[in-house]
C-alpha cells in the first residue's frame, strides 16, 4: 500500500470498477437530469398550448411583433454551437487537444452571440412598453409598426409566455457559458483525453438540450 492511486488512472474514482462503468454512470445521470429539464420546460409549453388553443388569433397577431430574421439568426447560431460541441467531443475522442479547445471556445462565442442578439431583441421590445405581466403597455411607432395596435386582449399572456420561456432558456445559455469556461480551462490544462472526456460529453449533452428547446421555441413564438 505504498500508493493506493498507483494502480488506476487519476480520473477513476475508487467506488467505480472501471473507467467504462464510471463514464456510463455519469452519462446516465446526465440523461436523467435532462429529463427533469424537459419536464421543467414542458410546464411552460403546456401554458403556451392552453392559451393558444383558447386564443389562437391573439397568438398569430402577437407573434408578428417578433422578428423572424433575428430569431432565425439565433437559431442558426445555436445550431452552429451544437455542431462545434459535437466536433469538440470528436476531437477529444481522437486525443486532439487543439481541436477540442478551439471548438469549445467557438461554442462559448456562439452562446455569447445568442445572448447579445437576445439583448437587442429584449431592449427593442422594452422601448415600446412590451413588458411581461401587468406592465404590458405597447406604444409608439418604429419601422412602420404601430405598437398600440398590438394592445389587444390576451396579448399580455402571449408576451408573458414569451419573456418567461425565452428568459429561462436564456438563463440556461448563461449556465452553459459558465460550463464551457470551466471545461475549456480543464482542456487547456490537458486534463481530457480519449480515455477520459466525461465532462465534455455531459456538457455537450446539456448544450444540445438547450438547442432542442430553442428549436421548438423559435417556430412557436416567432413564426406561427
Amino acid at each position: 500500500m505504498a500508493n493506493a492511486h498507483s494502480d488506476h488512472p487519476a480520473h477513476l474514482q475508487h467506488h467505480f470498477v472501471s473507467s467504462e462503468q464510471q463514464f456510463d454512470a455519469a452519462k446516465m445521470g446526465m440523461w436523467l437530469f435532462l429529463v427533469t429539464e424537459i419536464l421543467l420546460f414542458s410546464g411552460m409549453f403546456v401554458a403556451y398550448i392552453v392559451y393558444r388553443t383558447w386564443h389562437p388569433e391573439v397568438f398569430v397577431k402577437s407573434s408578428e411583433l417578433l422578428d423572424p430574421v433575428m430569431g432565425g439568426i439565433n437559431t442558426i447560431v445555436l445550431l452552429a454551437s451544437s455542431f462545434t460541441v459535437a466536433l469538440g467531443i470528436h476531437f477529444a475522442q481522437k486525443d486532439n487537444k487543439k481541436g477540442l479547445v478551439i471548438n469549445l471556445v467557438l461554442t462559448f462565442l456562439f452562446a455569447l452571440t445568442f445572448l447579445v442578439v437576445k439583448y437587442f431583441e429584449y431592449t427593442a421590445k422594452f422601448e415600446h412598453g412590451v413588458f411581461p405581466g401587468a406592465a404590458f403597455d405597447p406604444h409608439g411607432v418604429s419601422h412602420g409598426v404601430d405598437y398600440a395596435t398590438y394592445n389587444i386582449q390576451y396579448a399580455r399572456q402571449f408576451f408573458s409566455i414569451y419573456f418567461v420561456m425565452t428568459g429561462i432558456h436564456g438563463f440556461h445559455v448563461l449556465v452553459g457559458m459558465g460550463l464551457f469556461t470551466w471545461i475549456t480551462i480543464k482542456a487547456v490544462k490537458g486534463q481530457f483525453s480519449s480515455a477520459y472526456y466525461t465532462p465534455v460529453e455531459n456538457c455537450g449533452l446539456y448544450w444540445h438540450l438547450v438547442d432542442i428547446i430553442w428549436i421548438f421555441l423559435f417556430p412557436l413564438l416567432y413564426l406561427i
Binding site: V35, I38, V46, I49, S82, A195, I224
Partner: protein, 131 residues
C-alpha cells in the same frame, strides 16, 4: 484504457447534419411567410420535430448510445405527452357540461365587471314574491 467501443462521429457526418439543420431552419422561416391556412402550425411543428430528432439521434449520439439512455429519454417524452394531453382534456372541453362555463378566469372577471357596472332594471328590484 482503450475506449474503442465508444462511437466516434465522423466530421463528415456531423457537417452533413449541421447543413441539414440550417436548411430546415431556412425552410421553416420561408414557409411561415406563406399563408397555408390550417397547415402552417403542423408544418412548422413537423420541421421542428425533424430538427430535434437529428440533434438527439446524431449530435447527442443516442443512436449508438447505451440503450438505457434511450429508454430514460423515451419515458421523459411519454410523461410530457401525458402532461399535455390530460391538461387538454380539461381546457379544450370546458363548457361542454352544464355545470361549467367556457373561458378563462380573465373572461369571468370581465363579465363580472360588466355586470357590476350595469344600471339595474327598476322592475327587477321589486320583490318577486308578494304575500
Amino acid at each position: 484504457m482503450s475506449h474503442a467501443e465508444h462511437h466516434v462521429s465522423s466530421i463528415k457526418m456531423l457537417s452533413i447534419v449541421f447543413g441539414g439543420l440550417v436548411f430546415l431552419t431556412v425552410t421553416t422561416v420561408l414557409t411561415a411567410q406563406i399563408d397555408l391556412g390550417a397547415f402552417n402550425v403542423p408544418l412548422a411543428m413537423t420541421i421542428a420535430v425533424i430538427k430535434a430528432s437529428l440533434v438527439i439521434v446524431i449530435f447527442m449520439a443516442l443512436k449508438w448510445d447505451n440503450k438505457v439512455n434511450a429508454v430514460i429519454f423515451g419515458l421523459g417524452l411519454l410523461f410530457v405527452a401525458v402532461f399535455i394531453s390530460f391538461v387538454l382534456f380539461d381546457t379544450l372541453y370546458r363548457g361542454d357540461m352544464s355545470s361549467t362555463t367556457k373561458g378563462t378566469v380573465q373572461d369571468e372577471v370581465i363579465r363580472n365587471e360588466a355586470l357590476q357596472s350595469r344600471e339595474p332594471d327598476p322592475s327587477s328590484l321589486q320583490p318577486v314574491h308578494t304575500p
